[in-house]
């Protein structure tokens, strides 16, 4: 009785529920206790032992309903067709309308055909055919052909039943396709998207990308959100130790050691939102705002021709709407880095402290305007670090109107950033760097 459950675990994994071997053992034990008779109890037992978040619970329950909805085999074909011994099993079952036997036969044939291995929708017909053949389709067709001559009425009802059976099998295969193909294609696709160039993304994939970005951000957030302390081994905190042990006459039973708080980064993000860089900017902002809890303070600025602060917009609106709003305000104008930097200096330079990390996202193409590297130099002197993310390939830096190489000396780190994977790496580095 374990086989169907183990297959169910696989289907559930496909639906996005993470199930470890230990958990599947627990689930098997739980099912042993509650039994199979009560469907709700079975479902609850599986949900309790396997799913560990609300999302997973919903996914698991949907999967449970899909998996355990037994396809009802076709109804009785002929009312009084006398079973004859020289007919095949399938013919017998169809003519007597033995649903239970048909169901079992179908399940057995599906098992033999390895239906759980189905991955692609192009395999549906192939599997359906194999299952039907496994159930004895050949024999049935011969029987129908034989009966057509002697008892055309019975042959016709049998033919109808055969068609109904075909439908049934197809449905079964479809259901299995949904159950078992999900996991692999999803993970394949996700991996592809992580490595896809942000600037060349298909509109269709945006929603999926957002999900991935949120998941990435969540992982980083979990790691870095809690207040971090690092023990400085070997340095006794004399004050706290004496105070803590006052109750025992100052004899130091419990020692306290000096600790250093690791600060959460304060960020100022300057995003070029002109033309080609906008897509990358969107994901960077999405990423950073999803990280919120791991950061102590974040202020975002957008520029193309001139620079404005957009923190307010990003905090109040949904991210998609917010990006649209930002683009509407500042437009897809041609970028002028010099002006943007000058705007930043007049407006916000005072808030750059030695704890601030300044993050600039842009291709550094200023349309042959004055790059004003002097301002970047001053920012670099005030801030803890300046990180420049460039979506362009390294080879094209400094070609044409690109001032990237001129800016580079004033940055703590300049890196190419055109896929989600690289983005994640940069952000992880940002969070992980000890302050």
């Amino acid at each position: 009785m374990q086989e169907p459950l183990i297959r169910f675990f696989r289907a559930a994994r496909g639906a996005g529920v993470r199930i470890s071997p230990a958990e599947s053992i627990d689930a098997l034990r739980a099912v042993e206790i509650v039994g199979y008779a009560d469907r709700t109890a079975l479902r609850d037992a599986l949900a309790l032992s396997l799913a560990k978040t609300l999302d997973e619970k919903q996914a698991l329950e949907a999967c449970f309903d899909l998996y355990f909805s037994a396809g009802t085999p076709p109804g009785p074909a002929a009312e009084q067709a006398a079973p004859e011994s020289d007919r095949g099993d399938l013919t017998q079952m169809l003519s007597t309308g033995d649903r239970a036997a048909l169901g079992t036969a179908m399940a057995e044939a599906a098992e033999a055909a390895g239906l759980a291995e189905i991955r692609l929708f192009t395999q549906v017909n192939q599997f359906a055919r194999r299952i039907l053949e496994g159930m004895g389709l050949d024999r049935l067709e011969r029987d129908i052909a034989a009966l057509a001559a002697t008892a055309p009425e019975t042959a016709r009802t049998l033919q109808r039943a055969r068609e109904a059976l075909g439908e049934q099998v197809r449905e079964l295969v479809d259901r299995n396709l949904v159950l078992f193909s999900r996991g692999e294609t999803e993970s394949l696709r996700e991996e592809a998207l992580r490595n896809a160039r942000l600037t060349a993304l298909d509109r269709r994939d945006l929603a999926r990308m957002r999900v991935i970005v949120r998941a990435m951000a969540k992982r980083l957030r979990d790691r870095y959100a809690r207040p971090r302390r690092r023990r400085r081994r070997g340095q006794l905190d004399a004050r706290r130790t004496i105070r803590g042990n006052a109750g025992w006459g100052g004899i130091p039973f419990i020692t306290h050691w000096k600790q250093r708080h690791v600060e959460k980064p304060r960020l100022m993000v300057l995003c070029d939102v002109s033309g080609s860089v906008a897509a990358a900017a969107e994901f960077l902002l999405l990423f950073l705002y999803a990280l919120n809890e791991a950061l102590s303070d974040i202020r975002a600025f957008a520029f193309s021709g001139s620079l404005i602060e957009v923190s307010q917009v990003l905090e109040t609106l949904e991210i998609d709407a917010a990006i649209g709003e930002v683009l509407r305000r500042i437009g897809f104008g041609s970028s002028n880095y010099g002006r943007a930097l000058a705007d930043f200096e007049t407006g916000w330079m005072a808030s750059v402290t030695r704890r601030t990390s300044v993050l600039i996202l842009g291709d550094g193409r200023g349309n042959f305007t004055d790059p004003r590297t002097d301002i970047l130099k001053r920012i670099g002197e005030r801030a803890k670090r300046v990180i420049w993310l460039n979506p362009e390939a390294r080879a094209s830096w400094g070609t044409g109107d690109s001032d990237m190489l001129r800016y580079a000396p004033y940055c703590t780190l300049v890196t190419q950033c055109n896929t989600l994977k690289r983005l994640e790496r940069v952000v992880a580095e940002l969070l992980g760097a000890q302050g």
């Binding site: 993470r18 470890s20 230990a22 958990e23 053992i25 627990d26 034990r29 739980a30 206790i33 509650v34 709700t40 109890a41 609850d44 037992a45 949900a47 309790l48 032992s49 799913a51 560990k52 978040t53 609300l54 619970k57 969540k218 979990d222 959100a225 809690r226 042990n245 109750g247 025992w248 006459g249 004899i251 039973f253 419990i254």
Partner: protein, 324 residues
């Protein structure tokens, strides 16, 4: 897998009570806790599999209450460990009785001559001393904190680890040994194994995501806002003496309120408070003014109260009509 036949023999007390999912439902009901079927299944499985239950859900849906009711029903002691940031081993598991240790050292100082009296050489004296080696780090000098207490209960107990999400990740990792093997290790003494595994209930408000390792060791139960019928039954048990009509209106109103876009949705505990207040005010059925005046019992934010206040007449009318 923890097959521990010795433990099974002594846990008979809970075994006779926790016989089926229905028995759990009724037992908790008798203790004043109306459990949904899923909650009952979780308790049943937890007892059978000897696994802790991790309860998640919004504030005020009865997560902590479940542990209390369970203890009442099974007649076990409830040991509670409230988690907070900075909670550590010394406060959760054990602490040495330093004062006592100190006192005993002073007393023993005088006895030292007697102990060492006959030893002529230094090695001989040391040898004698070694025989007394660990007396100061023995169970006699141990101050048990909630977790250790839970392991030491001779008849078993219900251990409630409340709001685990408030503690730090290090503490979560520290709990793993206790949760999977029902034992705790004290470096000076060794592992202390529970005679009877306690029934462990952890609650979390999803303040932060818990680690996978912790989740894997627990049955994961999510308690959401209850269905109207369940909520009505809860009110019936918790607020005895309330009229059926009013009860249904209250539940109908709160259920509608939960559909609004609010910062903090009213929970079961708020519904109970409100029902109690209305009972004290001798209200026979909901009317708009009364609801407006008592809305702050249901909603905890000024902005929420403001947002709901406008809709009160509409909600009251719908609550009155939706009762069956």
């Amino acid at each position: 897998m923890r097959a521990s036949p010795c433990c099974r023999l002594v846990t008979a007390a809970t075994d006779t009570l926790v016989t089926s999912i229905e028995a759990v439902e009724q037992g908790l009901g008798a203790a004043g806790y109306i459990a949904s079927r899923q909650i009952a299944t979780a308790v049943f499985l937890a007892e059978r599999l000897e696994k802790p239950i991790l309860v998640e859900g919004p504030a005020g849906v009865g997560k902590t209450e479940l542990a209390k009711a369970l203890a009442t029903w099974l007649g076990l002691k409830l040991i509670r460990l409230q988690c907070y940031e900075g909670l550590d081993e010394a406060k959760a598991l054990y602490e040495w009785k330093y004062g006592k240790q100190l006192l005993y050292t002073q007393i023993l100082k005088d006895k030292l001559a007697e102990v060492l009296g006959h030893a002529d050489t230094l090695p001989a004296a040391l040898d004698r001393l070694h025989r007394f080696g660990d007396i100061f780090y023995s169970p006699d000098f141990l101050e048990p904190r909630p977790l250790l207490q839970a392991l030491q209960q001779p008849t078993g107990c219900v251990l409630l680890i409340d709001e685990i999400d408030k503690s730090e990740q290090e503490f979560e990792a520290f709990l793993l040994e206790l949760l999977s093997d029902y034992q705790a290790t004290i470096p000076e003494i060794g592992a202390i194994v529970a005679e009877i595994p306690p029934i462990v209930i952890l609650t979390s408000n999803a303040g932060r995501d818990l680690g996978d390792a912790l989740k894997r060791r627990c049955l994961h139960l999510h308690i959401g806002f209850p269905e109207p019928r369940l909520e009505s039954r809860i009110i019936e048990t918790r607020v005895p003496g309330i009229e059926l009509v009013l009860r249904q209106q209250i539940v109908g109103f709160v259920q509608l309120l939960r559909k609004l876009d609010l910062k903090k949705l009213p929970s079961v505990s708020e519904t109970i408070d409100w029902a109690r207040a209305l009972l004290l005010l001798h209200v026979a059925s909901l009317d708009v003014d009364m609801v407006r005046d008592t809305l702050n019992l249901l909603l905890k934010y000024e902005a929420d109260v403001e947002a709901a206040r406008i809709q009160v007449p509409d909600l009251v009318a719908r609550a009155a009509s939706c009762r069956s």
